[in-house]
Amino acid sequence: MEPLSEVKDFLRIEKFPHIWCAGCGHGIILQSFLRAVIDAGIDKNDMVVVSGIGCSSRAVGYVDFDTLHTAHGRALPFATGIKMAKPELNVAILAGDGDIAAIGGNHFIHAARRNIDLTVVIFNNFNYGMTGGQSSPLTCLNAIAPTTPYGNIERPFDICSLAIAAGATYVARSTTYHALQLPELIANGIRHHGFSVIEVLTGCPTYYGKFNSLRSPSKMLEWQRDHSVNLKQYQMLSEDAKEGKFAIGLIHSAERPEYTDEYSKIIQKVQVVSQKEPR
């Protein structure tokens, strides 16, 4: 693993202290993301990091790239435009569960469908931390939140399965408990030429933990440990045993034509034709 000094070089240290609460897992994901960028050998000047709105979306302010903090749920359309304008750039999206699965859900499935070369890291803390812990489309069944005071009756998305069904060609999941596994999964997502999704389960002791008897950061990490299973072991579980468990590791990988490549082919084809055609 890269020494911390290398990671520091990718931070805007002057913007610290960050806004995240004590015990929040987002810092572990941000560190893993930067280790992944270093591991993938990306130059600082060749990456744009885009986010929407929420606690995790504030991460872009702390990293030393061209960074774009967009509107709630809209990171993917902006990122799509950047990638179309400059396909040579690496474009990563740091998104929260509410941002990407609720208000940005439509953009998410369509970006996956296009298989455009973007890397999405989902900070899944199971709630809207920025506004006080309300439930999101990834909040566990029966969980308590300020907007589900009697327990959540909505079945959450399995965002990884959703990404696969929609057409994503690299899908992985990990947790902040598995901090040693995480950077490599993100690095491979950055290397992958297509739409990559890395879901990371993370702790929000301030809200989700407080409302669901997981108040301390360590309890949240233990919960992640106890509810995650390596993909191979997960596949051997009965359907009942899978309930409430999260498969972790590389979940899906495929090769499919990438969107900006296909568009470049159209330009080449059309320009050859239009040069022949008298105007």
Binding site: N45, G61, H69, T80, G81, I82, A85, K86, E88
Partner: protein, 383 residues
Amino acid sequence: MHMKKEKKAQFLQGNTACAEAAIAAGVRFYAGYPITPSTEIAEILSKRLPEVGGKFMQMEDEIAGLGAILGASLAGIKSMTATSGPGFSLKQELIGYAALCEIPCVIVNVQRGGPSTGLPTSPAQGDVMQARWGTHGDHPIIVLVPSSVKEMYDLTIEAVNFSESLRTPVILLADEVIGHLYEKATFPEEGSLKLSCRPRPEKKPDGKYLPFATSTPADVPRIADFGEGFRFNVTGLIHDLDGFPTQSPQATEALLTRLHEKIYSRVKEICLADTENLEGASVILCSYGATARSCAEAVTEARRQGLKIGMIKLKTVWPFPDFVFDPCAGKGKTVIVCEMNLGQIVHEVQRVANGRFKVTGVHSCRGTMITPKEILDKIGTLI
């Protein structure tokens, strides 16, 4: 339909003129969502943009259309989207983002009857106030209104130029009649157009790069393109000169005031209008878009009857061109505002009049144009 290089009259639709003008102005990225009566703009650009090395994307919704062009614009590409009423409502969210973050972009709204799904294939001018104030918060905006196929072309060029030179969203507020109207028009030769490009920093500064810093309060900041090594931040939060969030009352006021001044200190340059016989007339028609064509016909007929009629055709409605109305001042003078809505620009004209001249209006909300006869009847009640 391809534009010929020579300066030759063509017979074409307003939406086609808009698409071709976008290419002539240097637009190389379009993202949008199909909606009547603007769809032809997307269809034409899906074919034409790759021919000139540009790119077209049909997005999953209206918001994504604007989001994608803002991303492309931040990476340095001149970008445009087009829509109509229902889609324009959805785009309001990111129009504010573009205004605050000073991202050049053009949003075409080919207006149709509203509210809601309204009358999808019928004309209206009900989005004038929405174009000004549709997105939340204090913000300036430039809104141009074409009244012919030729103006659809010319004002698309102007819209791209203003958006670039002033780093601001510009709305081209057309209507169904002008979008779908076929008529003869002559356009400038390729290469003879005066095109603007956004101010960019010449080189990376030795010290700290301040993307939102300006030398004067009305100046346009030199914001770098993404991917050029400047490594700066853009946020929809109120930001300081360095592009990072701030809650400082002083910085907030300075930013919002500068954005306002950037546009309002240049009204003489931005506000385009055609006027005729304002001094000599007792009755002056004021209109814009398709309705200006009915007014022109009414003026011709009224003059045949020997009446002294003047005319103001607004091509810029926001910022509102107050100064254009100065020659209307005088006892016994009346300005008749003609518009396909129940009264939007008429209130601006009343504000500008401030007792210096009388103001009345001819309005409609039935999905058809105001006829010259309706305008002549109104003139008849005044003279």
